[in-house]
């Protein structure tokens, strides 16, 4: 039964990924993206990584896609401006398909050791205590660097997105250009 569940989830994931990539309207692809992240977190649950599943939901589904939705709402582009006629460019499609096939072929005839079932994980695999012990023990330094990276991103966005409004404070984007 679990086998079937895994294939179902994997299939749905691929389907939603396809929809995300190829639906014309960005808002639609954003919503499909949320579904895709839900399915990914269930995949993580199947694998046994609980904490990662929740974090996936919290960060990806809960924060990043929110930002994307916000931008789509903010820009409020009229649909044809955003989507535009999505003429499928044959070169990229062909290339993409053949690369997919190539890698699958390599994976398929690769060493048989990859194919047999994975052993059951240790009792504490995936739990948050195990995760945090590994992280603080081995990766404390990159923990700090990640913090610094976040700071940089913050400053970057501060510089890029926000220009101090001129005396006439029209803070909405539409006439930001005159103000800027």
């Amino acid at each position: 039964m679990m086998e079937f569940a895994f294939y179902l989830v994997a299939g749905l994931m691929l389907l939603s990924a396809g929809l995300v990539a190829f639906r014309p309207k960005p808002i639609e692809s954003a919503l499909w993206l949320i579904l895709h992240f839900f399915l990914t977190s269930t995949l993580y649950v199947f694998i046994g990584a609980d904490f990662v599943a929740v974090v996936q939901l919290l960060v990806y589904a809960g924060a990043i896609v929110v930002l994307i939705t916000f931008v789509i709402l903010l820009l409020n582009l009229n649909p044809q401006e955003i989507s535009g006629g999505e003429s499928i460019r044959w070169t990229s499609t062909v290339l993409f398909l053949c690369s997919l096939g190539a890698v699958l072929f390599c994976l398929h005839i690769s060493t048989p050791s990859l194919l047999e079932k994975m052993p059951a994980p240790g009792s504490s695999f995936g739990s948050i205590e195990a995760f945090s012990r590994t992280m603080i023990q081995n990766y404390s330094w990159s923990f700090e660097v990640a913090g610094f990276l976040l700071l940089l991103a913050l400053i970057g966005v501060g510089l890029l997105a926000y220009r101090r409004p001129s005396t006439r404070d029209h803070s909405n984007i539409e006439n930001k250009s005159e103000a800027a």
Partner: protein, 629 residues
């Protein structure tokens, strides 16, 4: 004794050089008159030095100044003078005639804004000429040779503002350079053969006689080179074209340089290195024939020239032809004698023509002259003496020197050359008569009133007239009771072919002299008959055009040499330089640009294009990593 010689010769040479530097800017400082007199003064002083040297030195003396140490091995080139009869005689003529012409020039050039410049060039010329005839080493001579060439160029194109003068100066300079090339080749061969360039040493080795075949071979080439150099400098057959054009310069220049001094450098050179020429008689023969042909050729052209200075120029060429003829027939003394007399009467003729031109306000075409007998009496009488002298009438200098040469030529039993010599003598007399009659007799065709030249010019004419009248005394032949002073004087240095002193020799010489003087007078009578009432017409025969246009030699040279040079230059410039060198360079640059252009298109700013390439790269990486597994 040596110290005094050193001082005298030093002063004689250095003074003109210093002078040339001073006059250049002195003109507007100390006025025209004083500059002219001062320049003439320097010449007179150096003439006096020459005279004293002439008296003091018995046979020959060698004055050492310094050696160009820094010019490699010291003995190769040293700055010293060889004062022997040859160089002293010519030195006297150069400084003497030079000072006379300087005096004449003060009058002639009066009022010309380049007055100071003119005299500085003349003094420089004198310095160079003295260096040429006095220095004892070939490089020294060559230095003089070049200096003279330079001054002739500067003086010919004196009025450089006029295009024709400038091109004439260039033409003279280039043709001289061709001659100098010959001279250089000669120097190299001599150095190759004898290892030294000092003339006394070379002559000593040659006279010592023990030369191997190789050295003789080299001397042959040297002689050929010398002949080419002499022909270039003395305007002989192949390289004479520059002299007629050189008339573009002021008349004193023509008189001094293109009549008396520079053109004789060739003759002096051949006499100086005569032992060398004796080694290869073929070259002597060549010189003789060149001389003869040039004489005949130039005389034929002179007959039909209407410009007075052109006529005199061609007559100079033919007289030089005579001198070369004499040198060719191993009669350097005769050549020298003719050279000296020629200097006197040709300078006289030129200065006379100068005063005529001066009088007629720069009118040079004889067809516009005529009847100047009454208006310019002194010029007329001095010119008559000159014409008679050159025509070879007995009492004058020309008769003796030309007769000497004719005597030698007939004595050498060369039928063709003697006939040429006699015909040329007749033609010389005829065209000089024509000139004489057309300028001074008949109605005055020129519409301007001619006035006599000032005293400074006429006095010089008289002196020269006297010299050309009594010039013959220098070498009165013994056959006629003379002491042949020049022959003995020069005999110390050069060997003269002996014509024989027997009784029949006297008889022959008297017959020859009578025949030549009769021929001269006959030619003058013919000219008188032909041009007495000369209006405008001239001979109308088809051959006339040929003579009139100087056998189209200039056009021929132009077509053969100049145009080819230009074309080859063009070819080198266009094909080789532009085509090959620049071509390859620009080609490479162009190719680089083309290929970079193509690559530039790869980077077309499309974000997804770049992503595609990255994706391909990753793919290839994966597959290769997997395959190498």
């Amino acid at each position: 004794m040596d110290a005094s010689l050193k001082i005298l010769s030093g002063v004689a040479v250095i003074l003109p050089l210093l002078g040339s530097c001073i006059w250049f800017w002195a003109k507007n400082k100390i006025g025209e008159k004083i500059t002219g007199l001062a320049a003439t003064g320097t010449l007179v002083i150096s003439f006096i030095c020459c005279l004293t040297l002439f008296w003091q030195i018995e046979s020959s003396a060698r004055v050492e100044f310094f050696s160009w140490i820094w010019m490699g091995s010291s003995e190769l080139v040293n700055f010293s003078f060889l004062l022997d009869p040859l160089s002293l005689a010519l030195g006297l003529i150069v400084t003497g005639v030079g000072s006379l012409i300087h005096l004449y020039a003060t009058g002639y050039m009066h009022g010309d804004e380049g007055f100071g410049r003119f005299f500085s060039y003349l003094n420089l010329f004198i310095f160079a000429m003295l260096m040429l005839i006095w220095s004892d080493s070939m490089p020294g001579i060559f230095m003089g040779w070049e200096g003279v060439g330079l001054c002739s160029y500067l003086l010919i194109s004196f009025w450089f503002s006029d295009e024709a003068n400038a091109t004439a100066g260039k033409k003279a300079f280039i043709v001289n350079r061709v001659g100098d090339f010959g001279f250089l080749v000669a120097m190299f061969c001599i150095f190759k053969a004898f290892g030294t360039l000092s003339i006394p040493e070379v002559l000593a080795i040659v006279n010592s006689g023990n030369l191997d075949i190789v050295q003789v071979g080299w001397t042959q080439w040297a002689c050929l080179g010398l002949v080419l150099g002499a022909a270039g400098k003395s305007a002989q057959i192949p390289l004479y074209v520059w002299l007629p054009d050189a008339m573009a310069g002021p008349t004193p220049v023509s008189a001094l340089i293109h009549a008396a001094t520079m053109v004789t450098a060739g003759v002096y050179l051949c006499c100086r290195l005569q032992p060398l020429f004796f080694l290869n008689p073929g070259v002597m023969e060549l010189i003789a024939y060149i001389g003869g042909l040039t004489a005949l050729f130039a005389a034929s052209i002179a007959i039909f020239q209407n410009d007075i200075k052109k006529v005199l120029a061609y007559s100079t060429i033919s007289q030089l032809g005579y001198m070369f003829l004499a040198v060719g027939l191993a009669a350097p003394v005769a050549a020298y004698f003719h050279l000296m007399t020629h200097a006197f009467f040709k300078a006289l003729l030129f200065l006379g023509a100068g005063s005529v031109i001066h009088g007629l306000h720069h009118e040079q075409d004889m067809r516009k002259m005529g009847g100047l007998r009454k208006q310019m009496p002194i010029t007329f009488w001095t010119m008559t003496i000159g014409v008679l002298a050159i025509a070879g009438t007995p009492p004058f200098a020309g008769f003796f020197s030309k007769d000497e040469i004719l005597h030698i030529v007939s004595g050498s039993h060369r039928g063709l050359l003697s006939n040429i010599a006699f015909v040329t003598a007749f033609m010389t007399a005829f065209y000089m008569g024509r000139l004489w009659i057309m300028t001074f007799f008949g109605k005055s065709r020129g519409h301007r009133e001619a006035h006599e030249s000032p005293w400074s010019m006429t006095a010089v004419l008289c002196v020269l007239a006297a010299l050309s009248a009594f010039g013959g005394l220098l070498n009165w032949p013994e056959l006629w009771g003379g002491n042949a002073w020049l022959e003995h004087y020069l005999g110390q240095v050069v060997t003269q072919m002996d014509v024989g002193h027997g009784a029949d020799a006297l008889e022959d010489s008297l017959k020859l002299a009578g025949f030549s003087s009769l021929m001269g007078l006959g030619a003058l009578g013919l000219a008188w008959w032909k041009y007495r009432d000369y209006q405008t017409q001239d001979f109308r025969s088809p051959a006339f055009n040929l003579f009139k246009n100087k056998y189209y030699i200039d056009e021929f040279y132009d077509a053969v040499i100049v145009r080819n040079l230009k074309r080859s230059g063009e070819f080198l410039w266009k094909v080789v330089d532009q085509g090959i060198l620049d071509g390859t360079l620009n080609g490479l640059a162009y190719q680089a640009k083309k290929t970079s252009e193509r690559f530039r298109r790869l980077q077309n700013g499309l974000l997804q294009g770049y992503a595609l390439w990255i994706w391909l790269g990753v793919l290839i990486l994966m597959i290769s990593a997997w395959s190498v597994r």
